[in-house]
């Protein structure tokens, strides 16, 4: 009897387990097919639109068209930014990965270092249409200089200074051309008593903060890594660049101290769209959020994020999303076809509008906005006033350490503390030590 009940218990467990195994059947199984007609690709796409579901709606017809043209099915999964990095890391670790993934292009050099991605060498590059079709600065983000890139640009993005036309007109102001003009205008449009501020900053977002550390330092002609890939965070140009940006809240007082809690760009853009602030610096995909939050196209204008007079004219890093193929894909040919399709002129035009992205192809016209002046400004910034973030394996550590250091400095300012150049230098030294310790 006891044995029988034991056997029964075991049997029940086993049955239960196999029942449970019925759940979640259609996961990222990329092991079938060999690049032929009936292959299925798994594609991880990062969140670009208003929700994961929205991305799915936008991408599905585009992917269906690809299936019609090539016979290759695409299994799409849209992944939120919260989870994307750990998902990619576990995929790399285990080799259980999708075939194609799109990533923030700033990670390109770091991900390249893992050796998990397919280099676009001569043949692969030809298969996707040749490197000459891309905007050169955009393609430069694809990997370390002098190597075959492991990612190619998909959606282009660039920073611009958005300003509220009505507020500027009412104050008799012209859109700023230099940093000093920007600060003066912002001060004029700031009135804390009426909860009106000149600018909104995503000062609690380390990813946003680090971009401005980079751009402001670049305007000072300062680099974050030397030729050997060693961090040089504490240079004078870096410290002064960071401090200049911090001073928007500290010295110039044109940003609400509450901004120190804005942990993503969305919140500062919302302040702009709801007319609480006169200016915001954001990438061009802010357009869809601005409109979604009630501001009409035409109520705002965009100029390049200005450098101080005499500074280097860098208005943005080369922002955007790149496309990579996992090296261990069993569908290499199909994956290459897919990358070619996603980066061809037609698809770029189709996706440019819903995702508010700039084309990554030479000669292509931006379609994300009907405002010709805005389109021209962003195209100009992207093509001529952008500099890629450091193309070194430690780039991701640069982002997290310097970005978090700036979070801390902003928090100190917001809670009533004072941040001097020495404080900035100390914070950047700590960041530098952290990067040095783990490389």
């Amino acid at each position: 009897m006891r044995l029988r009940s034991l056997v029964a218990a075991v049997a029940v467990s086993a049955l239960g387990v196999s029942l449970a195994a019925c759940g979640g059947s259609d996961s990222g199984d990329s092991s079938n097919g060999g690049g032929g007609g009936d292959a299925t690709l798994t594609y991880w796409a990062s969140n670009q639109g208003t929700s994961l579901d929205n991305d799915k709606q936008v991408l599905t017809p585009v992917l269906e068209k690809f299936t019609q043209e090539t016979g290759v099915k695409v299994n799409l999964e849209v992944i939120g930014w919260n989870d994307l990095q750990t998902r990619i890391q576990t995929a790399i670790t285990s080799g259980q990965a999708p075939d194609v993934v799109n990533i923030g292009n700033t990670w390109a050099a770091s991900l390249q270092a893992t050796d998990a991605f397919l280099p676009f060498d001569g043949d692969a590059m030809n298969a996707i249409g040749g490197k000459d079709k891309f905007v050169p600065t955009a393609l430069a983000t694809g990997g370390k200089e002098g190597t075959d890139p492991t990612s190619v640009p998909l959606y282009g993005l660039a920073y611009g200074l958005y300003y509220n036309k009505a507020m500027f007109a009412a104050a008799g102001l012209q859109p700023p051309k230099t940093w000093e003009e920007m600060v003066t205008a912002a001060q004029k449009l700031t009135n804390p008593a009426k909860k009106q501020w000149g600018m909104a900053l995503a000062a609690g977002s380390y990813t946003e903060n680090v971009h401005f550390a980079f751009i402001n330092a670049a305007q000072n002609k300062a680099d974050w890594f030397d030729a050997d890939g060693k961090p040089t965070f504490t240079g004078d140009g870096n410290v002064q660049g960071v401090l200049r940006y911090l001073d928007l809240m500290q010295k110039d007082k044109v940003a609400n101290p509450s901004n120190a809690q804005y942990d993503n760009g969305t919140k500062s853009v919302n302040d702009f769209a709801t007319k609480k602030v006169a200016m915001v610096i954001n990438q061009n995909n802010a357009d869809s959020s601005i409109v979604a939050n009630g501001m009409k196209a035409g109520e705002y204008g965009v100029v390049p994020f200005p450098a101080p007079s005499g500074g280097e004219q860098v208005a943005s890093h080369v922002a955007g999303i790149n496309l990579s193929i996992f090296k261990n894909t069993k569908n290499k040919d199909a994956a290459l076809k897919f990358v070619k399709y996603m980066t061809d002129a037609t698809t770029q035009t189709t996706l440019g509008k819903p995702f508010s992205s700039l084309p990554v192809l030479k000669d292509a016209k931006p379609v994300f906005t009907t405002d010709a002046a805005e389109a021209a400004t962003f195209a100009d910034v992207y093509n001529t006033k952008s500099k890629p973030l450091p193309l070194v394996p430690a780039e991701d550590q640069f982002e997290s350490t310097v970005g978090k250091a700036m979070n801390g400095l902003f928090a100190k300012i917001a809670t009533g503390g004072t941040v001097t150049a020495d404080d900035v230098k100390t914070a950047l030294k700590t960041a530098e030590d952290q990067v040095a310790a783990s490389s």
């Binding site: 990095q85 750990t86 670790t93 120190a260 809690q261 917001a414 030590d433 952290q434 310790a437």
Partner: protein, 328 residues
């Protein structure tokens, strides 16, 4: 965890094991020898798969240089010896200093949260001890924070703690006028206060429930006898309630300590990626050290150090409380 039933004297009221052995259901020696192992087999198998083997892999990881260059091919990662530990324990260096600070924050967080959760739980359990009208309603209400999915509660707190749009500042500044300048709750020094508040909110009902259950097992006539002797409420609590709850408390305190010390959800959901230094709890710190900087060897070394620390604390706790309860 059944260590508490045998080895751990925390289990108090020791069972007369010897008698049980004799009287145990082993009238069929052959099967009886195998049966306990068969019963344990599923648990052991799962523990091996999910806990033990990953733990051993984790310990191995702490001895290799597992950075992004080797993450796709672990076998190629070079042996690091104690390098990862050396970096983590070098408190003059940025990494070690960060770990030490995080450790300090976690100790403070854990002890304060534990103390508050226990006090609130005790206060409520005592208040609800004698029956009154609506008692079960109140009990039900008090249990809701524990029953709420963790992230739902924490997200609500995150919303309430926003500086300009949050309920907390609305109450303190606009309604009560206690402070004129709206304080920050999710950045700067107040972050620790927020973290403790949220953790206590989620955890105190568990302490309440456990203590309340413990109180129910104290016979009423003990209190009545004490009342007749003229003992007031406070003396009754000290002389009767507290000693009777000792076995419950021994377990409760240990569990609360282990849970709070390795709390990951609260900082992760409350602060997102923008965690302030004052809210940098150690498991979250290790998560960032591993996943943000891709230095999994270093993160593993920190985890092993944490494991050693918790083992020492738990061991000492069981030893001390055990000795005392044996004397009692």
């Amino acid at each position: 965890m059944s260590v508490a039933t045998e080895k751990a004297p925390a289990a108090a009221v020791p069972e007369p094991r010897a008698t049980k052995k004799k009287r145990g259901p082993d009238h069929r020696p052959g099967l009886s020898r195998k049966l306990p192992y068969l019963l344990l087999a599923p648990a052991v198998l799962l523990e091996l798969l999910i806990h033990i083997i990953p733990m051993l892999v984790g310990i191995w990881m702490s001895f290799v240089k597992l950075t992004k260059f080797f993450i796709a091919n672990w076998s190629a990662a070079p042996w690091a010896g104690f390098d990862n530990y050396r970096v983590a324990l070098d408190f003059d260096n940025a990494v070690g200093e960060g770990l030490l600070k995080s450790f300090g924050v976690t100790v403070a967080f854990s002890l304060i949260t534990l103390a508050l959760a226990w006090c609130l739980g005790m206060a409520a359990a005592v208040a609800l001890q004698p029956p009154f009208k609506g008692r079960s309603l109140v009990r039900t209400l008090f249990l809701v924070p524990y029953a709420l999915p963790a992230y739902a509660g924490i997200l609500t707190w995150n919303f309430m703690l926003q500086r300009d749009t949050g309920a907390v500042n609305h109450l303190l500044v606009d309604n009560l006028g206690l402070v004129s300048d709206r304080p920050f709750w999710l950045i700067g020094g107040n972050a620790l206060v927020s973290l403790i508040t949220v953790a206590v909110w989620k955890l105190w009902p568990f302490a309440f429930l456990t203590l309340m259950a413990g109180l129910q097992s104290i016979p009423r006539d003990v209190y009545e006898a004490a009342s007749v002797d003229g003992a007031g409420s406070i003396r009754q609590w000290r002389n009767i309630t507290l000693p009777s709850l000792r076995p419950v408390n021994l377990v409760l305190v240990l569990v609360l300590f282990l849970w709070t010390f390795s709390d990951f959800n609260t900082p992760y959901v409350l602060f997102g990626t923008a965690q302030p230094p004052a809210g940098d709890l150690i498991t979250f710190h290790i998560y960032n050290a591993s996943f943000l900087t891709w230095n999994f060897g270093s993160g593993a070394a920190m985890s092993v150090l944490l494991l050693i620390f918790l083992m020492i604390v738990t061991g000492a706790y069981l030893l001390i409380t055990g000795r005392r309860s044996r004397r009692a």
